[in-house]
Structure formats: structure tokens, C-alpha cells
Amino acid sequence: MTAFILRRLFRTLTVLIGVTIVVFGFVRLIPGDPAVVMLGERANPQVAAAFRERLGLNKPIFFNFAAPADTQFVRYVQQLSKGDLGQGIKSQIPVADELRSRFPATVELAIGALLFALLVGMPAGIIAALNRNKPLDNIAMTISLVGVSMPIFWLGLLLVYFFAVQLPWLPPSGRLDPTINFDSITGMNVLDSILKGRLDGLGSALKHLILPSIALGTIPMAIIARITRSSMLEVLSQDYVRTATAKGLNQRSVILKHALRNALLPVVTVIGLQIGLLLGGAILTESIFSWPGIGSWLYQGIFERDYPVIQGGVIFGALVFSVVNLLIDISYAFLDPRIHYS
């Protein structure tokens, strides 16, 4: 087991180094440079050139044969080795600070979306499997097909239009009512308001969380529903389930005790992948709902060609994704005794 984890950690490190090199090159391939974006209409050539020089963006990117150490990439790696992700070109705020302060918001939204996906997706999948090819199955699968195909921003705008503007039940965007203010402990408002005993804050935080969670959770919900259904169907046709049923155990205990546990394995894999994706920051959802997480920050960064922001955000996303996958693989061992890590 230890050897396996070490091997995986080494692989993760390799992946991160690869991601760093690729993202560093790719952001500089995007047409347009940060100086021009920042200066906008004012970007006449002299002003833009002076600005680039001040930022060190006029140096060679990877290779400089005259002075090998004097390239943008070498400087960045030197910074990284000190644990410094640089600072945003536009905000001049250290990228690490931004990640720290925004990650809790992203985690909170990811949990909300995941809860929605699980609470709706799993029962839908189980019900569909148990009613195979009957109307209930068709309804559940049609909904999940629509869920997978619906563009997030469109769904987000529809949700806002109906539930925030037409029926003003829920706030259109943000995380907390403007008049409610308390110091954050974890940065997750739901948790903080409970810790602080602020009921008004809890209500407001939950209300703000509903629409973005639905928007972000719809695709995972649909995927989970489909995987649960097919995995459940496969398990239900296994010999041991038939035996259990033949032994006269009641249907419910067969499904819950025998079938479900085994059917969950592939579902866990999918959930793991989804968690990784969600924690990387949901770019579209966060932007639509002005959710101050990593996704909306990365979106701004891409738009503004803020190289350190894009690099930091992507590297961080890759790190989270790798770690979550590692944890999922380890949890397999506990779920399925047949899996050995030798």
C-alpha cells in the first residue's frame, strides 16, 4: 500500500511538472498580451512596450542562449521552487493569497452541487434500474439526457430568470445578503454562520447556494443517474442476487444489502472524477452567479491574459484533481476487497 501511494505521488509530481510547462507555453500562445489588455484603448505601442519591460514580459520565454538563466520560464520556476506562485499582473495580489481566500467558496459550491447530484442522481438511477423499460425509467433517463445536454450558462440564466426575477424567491447572485457581515473562520459561509451562531447568516448563505448548486450539479447529476442505473442493472443480473432472491430474502434487503454496495463501485469512480472537476473551480457557474471562487477568478484571468493567474489556477486545479483521484483509488481498497495494491 505504501509503495503504491509513493508511486502515485511520484506520478502526480510528474503530471504537475508537465502541466506547468504546458500551461506556461500555452498562455503565451494566446494572442494578445497582458499589457495591451490592461491598457485597453490607451495601448499605443510605446506605452505598451514600456509596460511589458517593467513586467519582464519582453524577456525570452523558454530559451535564451546568450543568458540561459534570463528567461521568463526560469524565473518562474525559481519562484515556484520557493513556493511562490507569483502575483497577478493586474491586481498585484500574490496568486497564493487569492487561491487561499477563494478556495473555500469553491469548496462550498462544489459540496452543494455534489449533494444535489447525489440526492437526485442516485435515487433516479436506482428507480430507473428497478423499473427497467417502464415509463418511470424513460422519464428518469430523458431528464438525465436533457441535464447532460443543457449548456450550464443557459441553465443558469433560466434559473435566475424564473426563481430570482419572475418569482423573487432566491437571490440572483452572490453569497450573502449585503447587510449581513461576519468575520470568516473557514471561509465557507454555511459552516461559519453555524460556528458563529448566526441564524440569519445561515439562512442567507443557504439561499444563495441553491441556484448555483443546481446549475453546477445538473451535469454530474445526470451522469451519476446513468452510471447508477447501468451498474445497478448489471449487479441485479448477477448470480448471487438471484440466489439471494431465491433464498426468499425480501426484495428491499436484497437491493440495499447486496446489490447496492457492489453497484456503487463505478459510481464512486465517477463521483471522484466529478469532485476533482468541481474543486478545480466551476468557471461558467461561478461567473454567472458572481460566486467569488477560483473559477470566476480564473475566468477573469484568462480574459485579461493575466499569466501568473492562469498558471497558478491551472496548476492548482491539476493538483486538486490528482490528489482527489489518489484518494478515490485508495478508498477502492476499502470498498472492494478484491482489489490489491501489490
Partner: protein
């Protein structure tokens, strides 16, 4: 009975004068920084204006300079020495006294790359100072020669060349005066969400939740009109449709930079009002004289006559745009020439004739570039470009509509040979014609059209040195005539940025300069 009546009257009167509450502003995004002199974006300026004051302020809704932290200012005859008399008994909200030393400290941070408290090593550039003041200390292009203390309440700026508009420059919203004590204590972090910016303004900075909101509280010791609300919350809502949704849902009280089409939605909503900010921009179409067809002035004139500006402005802006023949927004109409017609003529038949005279009876084809993003002066560039293109094809000019990524667009327009025809615009920083003309003519102009005669550069130099509106008007009306007759840049629109507010928000007077203090706003009747 009498007592009841009196107490009722008292209660009523206290309601009538009860100020307070929370005012919520829907901001288009998070400020870049709350450090004065180190930003150029509107989202930063609007928050900074609440925390800081500037030496010179501007009259409500206009570009007219009025006393701010300086009570008066005088200059020598040729406008190369400016002396500002400072307001007494003003303190920064951390208790630091406001005086000449504080002003000089701030100026040195922006101007002097070697100043210890500028923290330039950490990547601060004070970009806007270089743009408005020509350059930094030690650079030949910068026109500030020195800043000196006359006494505790008087500061003298000495310039290398005459700049009659210096009070407008130093008073622009970028240059709020910050507390030296706070800057020294917080160092390079000053202005970031992790810091506590300190000024003398109508509000005191309270908190900044990254990506979410900034809260400022009323400054109880403000030297001018004290705030009518307890606090202002700036919520960052980047999507403009969402800002409109929030306004209509009642979760924000007022907001700016809405889509022009939102005016219709607000008209049908009993709870909100549309608010038109004074126009301080120009959106125009630029013709490149390096192009083989466009180098002929008759061709350019034909293009200017070929499309119906009035109809286009009516269609895409409705009430919130005006069309005229000037590069300057209507607030600066005093600098326009009487000899130039109010607007370009719309006459496709005459345009066709001109093309024939120029030797192109059957027309020709050109690339026409439009920006891929919405800007305040061109809210929907593609639609506008299509409308113009359709009219140009009517006189035989075949137009290939093109666009590319915004950053690339901005870079390529200035890279020779540039675009044949393209759309762009300008939003002003201060109320002087030079701020508009110098962006596109003269030594520091964009090099996008191949047209920049020395005659204009000389006139712009004279304009900077001219004292008083009458003298300036003489110079700028000449510039107006030359540029109008060149047909290189065809002004299409001066648009009024669209804001919106709840009905109960009173006393908000948007400034053409992009930021105004919120100290006179009341929200009586807000639930």
C-alpha cells in the same frame, strides 16, 4: 392629548430626518486595487472616490473644477508654476493630519521611481501618472519638474512646459490623497484586500471580501457634507444582465454600465428608474490613409456620406446616444468650430458621385474590422458594423467584415499597415479637449491611420498652453476644422452610459468623469 401630538410630531420629524441604512451598489467587478494613483479601471475609481478626496474636486455632474482638499490654486502667467492652498483642520481617518507633507508624499510615490515608499520593486507601476503627466521623475517626457512645500498648507508644482489644465489632471479621480502613516505601516500590501486603505473621504474603509464585496462606513468627521447612509456595500457582479436582475429583484439599490437595451426593461418596471450618465466618450470609425483607395480624400468623404449615422444611433442607442461631427462629447461643445456643420451629411447619391470622381465608378472592396467586445461607446459592435457595411455596399464599396480577439485587435491596429477601416473609441479622463485629441493626433497618438500632420501636433501644443476657455476654444476649433475635413476619423456616437436605481434612491448625480462621491445619496423608504 397635547403631549401625544407633540411626541407624534417629534416622532414624525425624526422619521423625516432619519438618515442611515445600507446602500448597496452593483459594481461591474472587483477593484484592481484601492491604492490611489495605481489604477485605471472604473471599478477601482468609484470605490476610491468614497475613501479618498483629491486636491481638486468637480461640480456635480460636470467637469468644472471646484475646491477639494485644496481651497484654491493659482499659477504664474505661462502656467508652468502652480500653487495650491490646502484646506486646514482636515485629518485622515487614522488621525494623521492632512498637510503639505502628506500631499508631497503622495505625489512622490506616483512620480518618483526611486521614492522609498513607492514600493516599485513589488510590481507597482503607477501607470496612469505616466500617461497623464507625460512621464516620471528623471524622464525627459514628464512635465513635472519639482514639487515643493511653500508652508504647511501650501504646495508648489513646477512644470517644464505650460499646462493650463494641470488642476484637472492632479484632481482626476486617480489621484486620491492617502494617509502617509497608513502607507508606511502597510508597505507593498497597501491597497490589496488584505490592507486597510486610509483617506480623508466621506467614507471609511471597513472590509473587502475577495471577489464578493467591499464595505465602507460613513466618516463621522468628514470635512464636507456628511454621508446620509450608515454604510455602502459594493457588490461585484460582472455580468451586466445579472446587475439588471439584481436591481429588479431589489437586492441592489443602484448600478452602472447596463446594456442600452435594458432601458426598455426599466421603463416597464415600477420599482426602478433608468439613469443616464453624462456622455464623456466618442465611438468612431477610423479610415487608414495607407490603404490605396483610402489615401484619396474624396473616397474618405464618400464613405462619411454613405451611411445614415442618425438612423444607426437611433437604432442601437435610442435615447442614450447622440451623433455629431465632433470628436468631443457634448459637454465640451465650447471647443468646437462654428464653421463645421453639426453633423456629417448623409447623401448616398453624392457619395457615389464622389467615388466616380475619384476614379472608382464601380467601387472596390475593403476590410472592415469591428471589435469582439462590447465597449461603453459601442455596445454591440457587430450589429453596428453590419449596418454600416450594408450602406457602404449601396455605393459600391464591398466590405469584408472581420474581427479578432480584443487584445490582438488593439495590438494589430497599431502594427503597420494596420486595418483598412476599423471601429474604436475613447473615454475621457478629464474635461479638456486635449485628453481626446492627443490620443489620436500628435506625438503620443496611436499609429493606426497613417494620418498625423505636424500642423496638428503644433496646434495641440498651443492648446495645452492656452489659458482660459476662450483662448483654448480658438485653438481647438482650428483642430476641429482640420480633422473634420480630413475625413480620417468619422465620429459615430457619444453615448451616455446607462445606470439604474431603485425609485427610493435620491441624490445620485453621476459624473461624466466616471466617479462621484455617494455622500449625498439618501434611501428613505427602502425596506
Amino acid at each position: 392629548m397635547k403631549r401625544i401630538a407633540i411626541s407624534a410630531a417629534l416622532a414624525l420629524s425624526s422619521v423625516a430626518f432619519a438618515a442611515g441604512g445600507t446602500l448597496v451598489y452593483g459594481s461591474g467587478g472587483q477593484p484592481v486595487s484601492l491604492e490611489s494613483g495605481n489604477i485605471t479601471d472604473g471599478n477601482s475609481i468609484i470605490v476610491q472616490r468614497q475613501i479618498y478626496d483629491t486636491l481638486v474636486d468637480f461640480a456635480d455632474g460636470s467637469t468644472k473644477p471646484i475646491p477639494g482638499l485644496a481651497t484654491r490654486w493659482t499659477s504664474n502667467k505661462d502656467a508652468t508654476e502652480w500653487t495650491f492652498t490646502l484646506r486646514k483642520n482636515v485629518k485622515f481617518t487614522d488621525g494623521t493630519p492632512f498637510n503639505a507633507d502628506a500631499v508631497i508624499f503622495n505625489v512622490n510615490r506616483w512620480w518618483d521611481p526611486k521614492f522609498e515608499f513607492g514600493y516599485r520593486d513589488s510590481g507597482k507601476t503607477y501607470e496612469i501618472w505616466g500617461q497623464l503627466m507625460g512621464g516620471y521623475k528623471g524622464e525627459a517626457s514628464g512635465f513635472l519638474k519639482s514639487v515643493t512645500k511653500v508652508n504647511d498648507y501650501s504646495v508648489k508644482f513646477t512644470l517644464t512646459s505650460p499646462v493650463t489644465v494641470f488642476p484637472d489632471l492632479i484632481g482626476s479621480g486617480y489621484f486620491g490623497i492617502a494617509s502617509p502613516t497608513a502607507i508606511k505601516a502597510q508597505g507593498e500590501k497597501y491597497g490589496t484586500p488584505a490592507s486597510k486603505p486610509v483617506g480623508t473621504g466621506p467614507f471609511v474603509f471597513d472590509s473587502w471580501k475577495t471577489g464578493d464585496r467591499i464595505v465602507v462606513k460613513a466618516n463621522p468627521n468628514y470635512w464636507d457634507a456628511k454621508a446620509q447612509v450608515d454604510e455602502v456595500v459594493f457588490r461585484f457582479i460582472t455580468d451586466r444582465n445579472q446587475r439588471l436582475n439584481e436591481l429588479r429583484a431589489g437586492t441592489i439599490d443602484f448600478t452602472s454600465d447596463l446594456d442600452p437595451q435594458a432601458a426598455k426593461n426599466m421603463k416597464n418596471d415600477a420599482k426602478v428608474d433608468a439613469v443616464l450618465k453624462p456622455s464623456f466618450n466618442v465611438g468612431f470609425i477610423s479610415l487608414n490613409v495607407r490603404n490605396e483607395y483610402l489615401k484619396n480624400v474624396k473616397v474618405r468623404q464618400a464613405i462619411s456620406m454613405a451611411f445614415d449615422k442618425k438612423a444607426i444611433v437611433e437604432e442601437f442607442w435610442g435615447d442614450i446616444g447622440t451623433s455629431n461631427a465632433s470628436f468631443l462629447p457634448p459637454v465640451m461643445a465650447w471647443a468646437n468650430s462654428k464653421k463645421v456643420p453639426a453633423d456629417y451629411k448623409y447623401d448616398p447619391a453624392a457619395a457615389k458621385k464622389l467615388l466616380a470622381e475619384a476614379g472608382y465608378p464601380n467601387g472596390f472592396s475593403l476590410d472592415f474590422w469591428y471589435m469582439p467586445v462590447s465597449r461603453p461607446y459601442f455596445p454591440s459592435p457587430k450589429d453596428i458594423a453590419e449596418a454600416v457595411a450594408a450602406e457602404l455596399s449601396g455605393i459600391g464599396i464591398k466590405v469584408n467584415l472581420k474581427t479578432k480577439d480584443w487584445a490582438q485587435y488593439l495590438a494589430d491596429r497599431n502594427t503597420a499597415p494596420g486595418f483598412d477601416i476599423y471601429m474604436i473609441g475613447w473615454t475621457g479622463d478629464y474635461g479638456d479637449p486635449d485628453n481626446f485629441y492627443s490620443a489620436y493626433y500628435g506625438p503620443s497618438a496611436s499609429d493606426d491611420s497613417g494620418y498625423n500632420p505636424k500642423e496638428l501636433a503644433d496646434l495641440l501644443e498651443q492648446g495645452k498652453a492656452a489659458k482660459g476657455q476662450a483662448a483654448k476654444a480658438k485653438v481647438y476649433s482650428k483642430i476641429h476644422e482640420i480633422t473634420y475635413n480630413a475625413y480620417v476619423r468619422i465620429p459615430v456616437v457619444h453615448s451616455q452610459p446607462l445606470g439604474g436605481k431603485a425609485k427610493y434612491v435620491k441624490g445620485w448625480v453621476p459624473s461624466p468623469l466616471g466617479s462621484e462621491a455617494f455622500n449625498k445619496i439618501t434611501i428613505d423608504g427602502k425596506k
